[in-house]
């Protein structure tokens, strides 16, 4: 599913993925840094375009490309599998050049989910050895459960980000991200 207006922040902008993003999104998922923790994709650019076309029509699936303020693509983030008042968050792969870009991308996606979509809880499934992603999720108020095993036998942690927990985290993080600039 695609929205036409970008979701703008101070450091990044989220724009729904289009076919023009096919090469970027495919290359990102084949980047060694992200391949370890995201499901592998092994397709052609044309197949990626076809996937994007299909994704843009899929209800409850919002796939964003993260852009920096200089106009470069720096990653992806997604809210998908919207059902009732819940959805899943993932496809998170951001290579920014400062700490605020990834944090704001997550904030904007969660504000979209809780605000625009009216959801109450966002689930994430993180590989248990992906300590960086686990730490990242926690700072947005994520509640994390003991590991279980996925279908391939890999340990995975379910995280729940509830609206009220995120709102507290948003206030705390926003007090740093959105301070008035002195200059």
């Amino acid at each position: 599913m695609a929205i036409t207006e970008p979701i703008g922040g101070r450091y990044v902008e989220l724009r729904c993925c289009t076919e023009a993003d096919a090469e970027f999104t495919r290359a990102l998922r084949q980047n060694s840094e992200f391949m370890k923790y995201l499901p592998a994709i092994d397709n052609t650019v044309e197949q990626q375009r076809a996937w994007i076309r299909s994704q843009r029509e899929k209800p409850g699936d919002y796939f964003f490309v993260v852009w920096d303020k200089a106009g470069s693509r720096i990653g992806t983030i997604s809210i998908y599998d919207v059902h009732g008042d819940r959805a899943e968050s993932g496809r998170l792969a951001i290579k920014g050049d400062n700490a605020f870009q990834g944090i704001e991308a997550q904030i904007l996606s969660f504000r979209f989910a809780f605000g625009e979509l009216g959801l109450e809880c966002i689930d994430s499934f993180i590989f248990a050895d992906n300590e960086r992603a686990i730490r990242f999720n926690k700072q947005f108020g994520g509640r994390q459960y003991p590991p279980c095993t996925d279908e391939s036998g890999r340990a995975i942690i379910k995280c729940e980000n509830w609206r009220e927990d995120f709102e507290k985290a948003d206030r705390r993080l926003s007090s740093i991200l959105y301070r008035d600039k002195k200059h």
Partner: protein, 80 residues
Amino acid sequence: MTNLEKYNNAFVETFEITPDQLEGLKYQDIEAWDSVGHMSLIAALEDAFDIMMDTDDIIDFSSYKKGMEILAKADYGVDF
């Protein structure tokens, strides 16, 4: 505690590293200094020096050395 000791302590405690790792340390050089670690470091430094950092300075704080330059500015007045 001197300002340098306070500064070093913020890194050592936030990132759980040893002082000999500080020289030349940059953002994303170690796993602990990711975006989450960066926010924690800034919070630790703001507490240690009773300051509130400008967002541009937080973004520019890209290394141990750069951080000292930033904190030494008149805005924060930390003497090292």
